[in-house]
Each structure stands twice: as structure tokens, then as C-alpha cells.
């Protein structure tokens, strides 16, 4: 039987029986969000080559396709996924990437996963196969359900296929390093941000600010000369950014050790980029020009969440042995009510990844 039909059938049977399903692609993000429960529904049979049209800047891929394979296919035409989604393992799938909605180092400049989603095919909680969006860049026909599915952690539907915007790879890039304190790094980044520079990614950790420029050769060359700093050779820069993207960087390795040995939590703080340093105890890595701050700490969840909320952001317990205070910051009452009704609208019996995003959803 066709892999899509098999998923439709599994969801329909589960719907009839009122049985919870735990949706899984490559399993590289099993740690993310709340704990998954239910019978396993695997999307890995949804394979095959992506339908990539280089001149359309659009690619349509089956959900079970490995992200590495999709990126390799795009690279063949000098294109890429501009938001640099993490590959926590080689098994990471396209469907999982969209369901988790996580983006990498170039997020602040290039946009998020949802910004690049053009269409999805999903199987709803009643086993209905539905398509939203499409394969074109501009599309305002009906509500943009496909973009709501991005980052929904599977609670609205099983993603079976996605269409994404592909981006030509930058002609040129340069990585620069500056020795500075975190406050100085933020000040530099905000000043640069107000100028038309091809600033793409940035990371501050342990006394160093590393910035990546991407764009035309002319623009990158000019900007690199203006900004100064120490130029990092491409051979060293590429693995550095990849380490940040896939969380294999020494910061994340140390974070995992702190989680294992000291019951610490790796927090992901999403803040307004211009938020001041929060001064929370722990080791901190700053990305996205200040808008994403990773913190390894044993501080109580309430303290971290309160600090983030005070400056207009929110904190996610990204990796931890347990997440007793919840993986995600709580929702304001009117938003929670919409979430609950939206969940029921797609999944009336609550069988798809129940509780994975929030308990009760």
C-alpha cells in the first residue's frame, strides 16, 4: 500500500478507537517539547526524491525524506534552505523539521521555518488528507494553515508532504571574530544592524563574538573590510557554524554534560534582540544578534521564565532530564482558548501527539 494511504488508514483506525498516536520521523527531536505518548506512527516510509524546480525556488518533499538528502539535492543546484534547520542526527526528516519549527544561525537574517513553508499536505485527526497553501511564493487563498502547521509539534495533523521556498546559495561569505564582552557584542550587533550590511549570523560565547556575512562578493568584501576583526578561514568557519546549527559545538556538548551530571537545564530564551543582558547565573551563548540566548543553568524555571517575560520574551526548557515546569512558557487565557478550539478543529478526539506542545492540547 502507498505510504500516505497507510498513514491515513492508521489515523482513521486510531480515530475510530480513540487511540493516541505518537508521530515520529527520524526521532532526532524526541527530547524536544513535552514527553510523547501513544502508539507510534512513523513517517519514515514517506520517502523518495524531492520535486525541486530550481527556477521556481520551490521544492516539494515527502515528510519522511532525510533533511541531509534534501539539502544535498538542493546543493546540486546551488540552492539551500536559508533558515539552516538543525540536524540533531543524520536521521532528521523534513516533516520533523517543519513540525518542530526550529531554525539555525541565520534565522535573524533569513527568516524562520514558517517563513519558508509554502504548502503542506497533512492527515487530520479524523484521517482526512488535506492540502493547504501550494507551490507558489505568493498565495493568499484562504487561511494560511500550512504556516500554522510549522512548529505545531504534530498536534494538528500528520505532515505527509511539504513545499518550501528554496534560496540561491550566497555567492560569498566571510566570518569575522572579535574579542569582547557580551554587552559590547550586543552594542556592535545593533549598530551594524542599522546599516545595510550583509550581516547574516552571529554568536557570542566565552569572550568572543563571531559574525558571518553572506551575499554578493562585492557586498561581503566591502563589509568585511569595514567591520574589521579577525578573519576566520573558511575551513575553520564552516565547522564552527555547523556546530552551532546542529548543537555539536563545545557549548552544547558542555550543556549536555551539565544536564547529565548536575541536573541542569538548557534553556532557549527568545527575546527582543535589544533586550539587555539578563544576568542570570549560568553559561550563556547568544545568537540571532541578541534575539536567541541559550542558557545552561540550574536556576528554578520560574526565575528564568520571569526574567525572559520581563523583557518581552519567553523561555523554553530545551533540553533537561525532566521539565516539571513545562517545556514551553504558558499562554495568555485568550490565546489558550484559541489553541484549545483549534486543536479540536483539527483533531476532535485529541489523538495526535496529545500533550506534546502543552498538557491537555
Amino acid at each position: 500500500m502507498d505510504a500516505v494511504a497507510a498513514i491515513v488508514e492508521q489515523v482513521r483506525a486510531a480515530y475510530a478507537a480513540g487511540e493516541a498516536l505518537r508521530i515520529r520521523g527520524g526521532g532526532s527531536k524526541d527530547f524536544y517539547g513535552e514527553a510523547a505518548t501513544g502508539t507510534l506512527l512513523e513517517t519514515t516510509a514517506l520517502t523518495g526524491a524531492a520535486d525541486h524546480e530550481p527556477t521556481e525556488l520551490v521544492v516539494t518533499a515527502p515528510a519522511g525524506m532525510r533533511l541531509l538528502d534534501l539539502e544535498e539535492q538542493l546543493a546540486g543546484h546551488r540552492q539551500c534552505l536559508a533558515f539552516e534547520p538543525p540536524r540533531f542526527s543524520a536521521a532528521t526528516t523534513v516533516g520533523g523539521m517543519v513540525a518542530a519549527g526550529l531554525a539555525g544561525p541565520s534565522r535573524a537574517a533569513a527568516g524562520s521555518v514558517r517563513d519558508h513553508v509554502l504548502g503542506v499536505s497533512i492527515v487530520s485527526g479524523t484521517g482526512e488528507l488535506l492540502q493547504f497553501g501550494g507551490r507558489v511564493i505568493k498565495n493568499v487563498a484562504g487561511y494560511d494553515v500550512s504556516r500554522v502547521v510549522a512548529g505545531s509539534l504534530g498536534i494538528l495533523g500528520v505532515i505527509v508532504e511539504v513545499s518550501l521556498k528554496a534560496t540561491p546559495r550566497a555567492e560569498s561569505e566571510a566570518t569575522l571574530r572579535f574579542d569582547c564582552k557580551p554587552g559590547e557584542a550586543l552594542a556592535l550587533l545593533h549598530a551594524w544592524g542599522q546599516r545595510p550590511l550583509p550581516l547574516d549570523a552571529s554568536a557570542w560565547w566565552n569572550g568572543s563574538l563571531v559574525a558571518r556575512l553572506r551575499g554578493s562578493e562585492a557586498a561581503v568584501g566591502e563589509a568585511a573590510a569595514t567591520l574589521g576583526g579577525e578573519r576566520i578561514a573558511a575551513a575553520a568557519a564552516a565547522p564552527f557554524w555547523q556546530g552551532l546549527r546542529d548543537h555539536t559545538d563545545p557549548f552544547f556538548v558542555a550543556a549536555q554534560e551539565a544536564i547529565d551530571d548536575h541536573d541542569a537545564t538548557l534553556w532557549r530564551l527568545s527575546l527582543p534582540a535589544t533586550a539587555p543582558l539578563l544576568g542570570l547565573a549560568g553559561d550563556e551563548l547568544i545568537e540571532w544578534h541578541g534575539a536567541e540566548r541559550w542558557l545552561v543553568t540550574a536556576l528554578p524555571a520560574a526565575d528564568v521564565r520571569a526574567a525572559a517575560a520581563t523583557v518581552g520574551g519567553h523561555a523554553t526548557a530545551f533540553r533537561a532530564r525532566a521539565k516539571p515546569a513545562g517545556a514551553f512558557a504558558s499562554l495568555a487565557p485568550p490565546l489558550l482558548a484559541i489553541h484549545e478550539r483549534l486543536k479540536r478543529a483539527f483533531d476532535p478526539k485529541g489523538i495526535l501527539n496529545p500533550g506534546r506542545l502543552y498538557p491537555g492540547l
Partner: protein, 501 residues
């Protein structure tokens, strides 16, 4: 009109009067007298939006002046179970702000205050009635700008832009409204304050902001919007390239993209459109060309120089018969003036025109133009064509005379045929103007009954009683049955025969 009304109509009119009295009475308690219009002569300007062929008289028009008044109007309407149609500048082209005959039109036009420009964070927080262009004007002293620039930007409001997910000529490089909005503050149908998105790059939970942007006022009422600003490019240059064959022009568009260039703007006009605008603005276009392309590059001077050269090389290789690059800002603006005046210029060569807005894969551009030429013969009407070629968004303008009932009918059939072909090519019935009431029937072609039912369920999740802008965007089953066209598979998946229970 002295003839007695039929009894049923008289009863209907009386019911409406009673309902109107009830609603006006309730709104008068929360609004000052000058902020509430209900007499026929007062509400006439609100009877339609930019799609003037559709008109309705609302029960009343509310023009609140404070945030509290917006909440109170919504709460009153909620209590009385009255539909509410939010409205900005009324420049929309799909009838999204068409009043409900038994509803209240809620104008947000008075909320035209720029709340804050944060140069360091590169954001602007503005009330929903602020005009699109006013944001860039306010940001200009900081050398920043707001990227989405629909052609109506001197008049259209940011609230309307969010409702429609407006594009513009620069969205290939800079994205749509969706990509440039961080936060929307507004109200639910019941008048409860709600915030979608936030000041960070993401918010916890489902991305409801993505649903609200482009929802045509059906999910929430937008009161305040925080947008992302970008540093102004140092300079920009525009190339005009002529082609003696439409197909070659279409191929040149694909070739530019394939070369890895993302132009700041990439527009196409056919020969008749070029002639119409040239007569109107004298932009210096090549009148002999079968099609012209406008390609813009922006950035630093060196980068623009480099990119312009590369674009010119590609265009030449694709058989351009004439290539001219702007040498200064005045010339660049003159090049664009023709494109930006495509709609008014069409108004000069025809009593009426119907503007289509579908998007198709870029590679189908030439096929679409060929098909449109055949449709001109079939429907005995002329069509001039202007495209956001870079993103495949077409604006064929079908010329007709609305005073001739048969021409109007033929124009509608012509338009529907373009939309159906767009869907069949793997595209969409609306790229940036929205569904509104205009393209309700075409939604039957693009979405299956189950998909439309799911959208209706999304609507109910935000607005359980269906009070906000009812009857727009999602066609009823009956309407689709009457329209009689099959849902066309969009070729996303080669769907297998599914087991049906």
C-alpha cells in the same frame, strides 16, 4: 417610488429598521454621536471597497476613537449577535470590506498614530489605520524603511495589509507582509484583548500570527501592529529589457532566478500594457517590444554595479533586443512610474477593467500569456497584462464596459477561466488581493470540500459564533454546488486512491 411594496419585502424592511434601531441604540451608549453613522446618506461611502461592483448598506458604521471604544463596540455587537466588518482605507480589491447588510462596519481609520519607531531594534509600532507609506516616511530619518509596498501604498493601511497579507513589487527579495510583521495586538470577536506574535522572533505555542495575517478580518480585529524595518539600501538601479517574443521574456525571468540572482524587483508588461502606460506617464518604454521586463538591483554601490552587470548579461543571453539601465535616481523612478500606474492607465483605455490576481509557477508564464490571447478571442474582450514576474503573480486586466450586461458577464467568465487555468498549472486564485467576495467561487476549484470545511473550523476556533466578516473567503457548499466546477487537484501529491469508509 409610490408603488406599494410586496408584503414580504415590507416586513423585511421593517425588521431591518427595528434591528438597526436596536444596534444604533446600543452603539450610541459606547460611542460619541459623531463617531456613529447610520443614516443612508452618511453610510454611502462605506458601501463598497476598491471592488466597486459589489455594494451593501450596513446597519451602521462605527468610527471609534479610543481602544476602549473598539472593545465596547465589539462587545455590544457580540451581545446583540450582530456581524462586524472591520475596515481600513477601503482600498482592497476583492470586496473583503464589503459591509454585511445586517452588520456593523467598524472603521479603524481614525487610529493613524505611529506609536513608536525603535531604530536600534529596527521596529515600528503603529496603529492599524496608519498608511503603509507613512511607516517608511516615519522611519526614513533613521535610514530605515518598511519593505512591503503594495501599489496603493499612499492610501492603504497597515491593518488592511495585515488582513490581506499584501505584497508589492519588492516581495521577491524582502517578503510579504507576513514576513515583516512581528506582533499584532487586537481583539477577539467578543471584544477581548489579544496579542499574536511578540517582540521576540517567535512566540510560545502555535503560530497564530501566521493565521491572522491574511485572514481578511475574519479571525480577529487588528488594532496595533509592530513591523520589522530594514536599513535603506545605499543605492538602487533598474534595468528595462525589451523582448520581441513573450515566451523569451518569460524564459529570461527563469534564467535570472536560475543564475542565483534575487532581484529587488522583477516585473513584466506586455505590449498593450506598455502602450497604455506610456500614453499616460511617458516613462520612455520601448513600444515595439512584445514584452518588457523591469529588473531592479539594490544594495551598496559596488554590489549593485556588479549585480546589474550580471542581470544584463543574462537578459542579453536570453535574447533581449534592447537593454537600458537607469543612470540616476530620477530615471529609475521614471522607469517604475509606468509600472506603478498600470491600473489607472488601464482606466484610460477602457470604461471598466477587471483585475485578476492569480499566481502560477514562473515557468508557466509564457503558456499563460498564450492561453490568455486565445481567451480574448473566445470571450471577445481585450486583456492587458502586467505581472510580478519574479514571483509568478499575474495581474491580467480584462477590459470591458460594465454598462453592457453581456460584456460584464463575458468578463466574469474570462476571469474565471484564467483562475481555473492558474489552479490547474499548480498555482493559486489569489496571490495578494485576497478572496473577499470576488473569488469565493474560485475557492471551490482550488480547495476540496474537506479543506474548505477545515478552514471553516479554523474560523470557528477564533470566532466561535462566526461574527467577524461573515460570508467572505470560504464559500458555502451550496455556492460551490451551484458554481458547478470541479475541485482541481493542484498536483502537490499524486494522491493514490484512498480507502473510503
Amino acid at each position: 417610488m409610490n408603488a406599494p411594496l410586496p408584503a414580504a419585502a415590507a416586513r423585511g424592511a421593517l425588521d431591518r429598521q427595528r434591528r438597526q434601531a436596536e444596534v444604533v441604540d446600543a452603539l450610541a451608549r459606547v460611542l460619541p454621536a459623531h463617531a456613529l453613522l447610520w443614516r443612508r446618506e452618511e453610510t454611502v461611502p462605506y458601501e463598497c471597497d476598491g471592488l466597486t461592483a459589489y455594494r451593501e448598506q450596513p446597519l451602521a458604521v462605527a468610527l471609534p476613537e479610543t481602544e476602549r471604544q473598539v472593545a465596547d463596540v465589539l462587545a455590544s455587537c457580540h451581545r446583540l449577535e450582530v456581524p462586524v466588518v472591520a475596515r481600513g482605507a477601503g482600498t482592497g480589491l476583492s470586496g473583503g470590506a464589503l459591509p454585511d447588510p445586517l452588520g456593523v462596519t467598524l472603521s479603524l481609520a481614525k487610529f493613524n498614530r505611529i506609536v513608536a519607531i525603535d531604530a536600534k531594534a529596527r521596529t515600528a509600532t503603529v496603529q492599524s489605520g496608519v498608511r503603509n507609506l507613512a511607516i517608511s516616511e516615519a522611519a526614513a530619518p533613521h535610514r530605515l524603511f518598511y519593505a512591503p509596498d503594495p501599489s496603493s501604498q499612499i492610501a492603504c493601511t497597515i491593518g488592511g495589509n495585515v488582513a490581506e497579507n499584501s505584497g508589492g513589487v519588492h516581495c521577491l527579495k524582502y517578503g510579504l507582509t507576513l514576513h515583516n510583521v512581528l506582533k499584532v495586538r487586537g481583539f477577539t470577536a467578543a471584544g477581548e484583548a489579544v496579542t499574536f506574535g511578540g517582540d521576540a522572533l517567535d512566540a510560545p505555542g502555535l503560530d497564530l500570527l501566521a493565521a491572522v495575517v491574511g485572514s481578511e478580518g475574519m479571525l480577529a480585529v487588528i488594532f496595533e501592529v509592530t513591523v520589522r524595518l530594514l536599513p535603506m539600501p545605499e543605492t538602487a538601479r533598474c534595468i528595462i529589457a525589451s523582448f520581441d517574443d513573450v515566451r523569451r521574456a518569460g524564459e529570461a525571468v527563469a534564467a535570472i532566478i536560475a543564475a542565483g540572482i534575487v532581484p529587488a524587483g522583477l516585473e513584466m508588461m506586455d505590449k498593450r500594457m506598455t502602450a497604455a502606460v506610456e500614453g499616460f506617464v511617458h516613462a520612455g518604454y520601448d513600444l515595439d517590444a512584445a514584452a518588457i521586463l523591469l529588473c531592479e538591483s539594490d544594495g551598496t554601490a559596488t554590489a549593485v554595479e556588479h549585480e546589474t552587470r550580471r542581470m544584463a548579461e543574462v537578459l542579453e543571453a536570453c535574447g533581449a533586443t534592447r537593454i537600458e539601465a537607469s543612470e540616476n535616481e530620477a530615471q529609475r523612478l521614471r522607469f517604475w512610474s509606468g509600472r506603478k500606474n498600470a491600473f489607472p492607465a488601464s482606466g484610460r483605455i477602457s470604461p471598466d477593467y477587471m483585475c485578476m490576481d492569480s499566481t502560477i509557477p514562473r515557468k508557466c508564464l509564457a503558456d499563460m500569456l498564450t492561453a490568455i490571447a486565445a481567451m480574448e478571442t473566445k470571450h471577445r474582450l481585450r486583456c492587458v497584462n502586467v505581472f510580478h514576474a519574479g514571483d509568478g503573480n499575474l495581474h491580467p486586466l480584462i477590459l470591458f464596459d460594465a454598462n453592457d450586461a453581456d460584456e460584464l458577464h463575458r468578463a466574469e467568465a474570462f476571469g474565471a477561466e484564467i483562475l481555473e487555468l492558474s489552479v490547474a498549472m499548480g498555482g493559486t486564485v489569489t496571490g495578494e488581493h485576497g478572496v473577499g467576495v470576488e473569488k469565493l467561487s474560485s475557492m471551490c476549484v482550488q480547495f476540496s470540500p474537506a479543506e474548505r470545511a477545515q478552514m471553516e473550523a479554523v474560523k470557528r476556533a477564533f470566532d466561535p459564533d462566526g461574527r467577524l466578516n461573515p460570508g467572505k473567503v470560504i464559500p458555502t457548499l451550496v455556492r460551490c454546488a451551484e458554481y458547478g466546477r470541479m475541485h482541481v487537484k493542484r498536483g502537490l501529491l499524486a494522491f493514490p486512491e484512498l480507502p473510503r469508509f
